[in-house]
């Protein structure tokens, strides 16, 4: 087990309504700056990386997508996102992680996932975003159902990297 880092800040949000990723990022940056002013003065971490995933306009079979339904396991999904974020941050020595994930019915083009990492160097920030994204795609209890032509199909697996 990696040693827990008392300076590590993990934020996890499950969202039932559409969200604007850049607004969420701005609020996250403000919360971290407020924290850091307390302990470290105005210092901000030198590297920050983000990933935003949006719903595609077509289903896996190429038909027009009406809506994407996202089922999850309430309680476990939040806990698992937090555990994955903490483990990834610890592996890479990142200082702050934000994970936001939509649940429920999501329209094409809407954001479904946002991952953001602050670290002291670009390598850890970039790698932590990439790994955490893979981790949550495979180890957080979410299930996608694509609705097209009035019928729903559970998605069989993740899109290729």
């Amino acid at each position: 087990m990696p040693t827990p880092n008392p300076e590590l800040t993990i934020a996890v949000q499950l969202l039932e309504a559409p969200f604007e990723p850049l607004e969420l990022l701005a609020a996250w940056q403000r919360s971290l700056s407020a924290d850091s002013r307390d302990s470290l003065g105005a210092a901000r971490m030198a590297a920050e990386s983000h990933f935003i995933g949006r719903v595609r306009p077509t289903t896996a079979s190429g038909a027009p997508l009406e809506v994407l339904e996202l089922e999850h396991y309430p309680g476990m999904s939040e806990a698992q996102l937090r555990a994955l974020a903490e483990a990834c941050a610890a592996r890479h020595g990142a200082g702050a992680v934000l994970v936001a994930h939509r649940v429920g019915r999501i329209a094409p083009g809407e954001a479904i996932v946002l991952v953001a990492v602050q670290a002291d160097r670009r390598g850890p920030a970039l790698r932590c975003v990439q790994e955490l994204l893979e981790d949550l795609k495979h180890h957080a209890p979410f299930w996608k159902r694509e609705w097209s032509g009035g019928s729903g199909t559970w998605v069989a697996g993740n899109t290729p990297l």
């Binding site: 396991y73 476990m76 994930h101 996932v113 994204l133 209890p141 979410f142 299930w143 996608k144």
Partner: protein, 98 residues
């Protein structure tokens, strides 16, 4: 679909576990959550899979397919882990988040 009551009234609910199904598994079974009495001891998720006939067909011989993951009290667990009264055990079809 209207489901029948899933568990008979029991004087000792603490000797039961809560079973949860999600997504395609939930739809195939026609239910998402049940209280199930622990009949034998020890009982595992693998035992419940057989008892509740959660298979898609007879092909897997009552064994949990490797694509199905188990969570006990909302943490991943091995299918053979003995269940304790009051546990919540969930059968999770392949995850497709992110």
């Amino acid at each position: 679909m209207h489901c029948p009551p899933v568990v008979a009234p029991s004087p000792d609910l603490t000797a039961a576990v809560r079973v949860r199904l999600f997504a395609a598994l939930r739809e195939r079974a026609g239910w998402g959550e049940r209280l199930v009495p622990l009949e034998a001891s020890p009982t595992s998720a693998a035992d419940l899979w057989r008892r509740l006939a959660l298979d898609d067909g007879p092909a897997t011989g009552g064994r949990i397919p490797p694509s199905i993951r188990i969570a006990i009290n909302q943490a991943f667990a091995a299918p053979g882990t003995p269940l304790r009264p009051g546990d919540e055990v969930a059968f999770l079809p392949p995850i497709t988040g992110g």
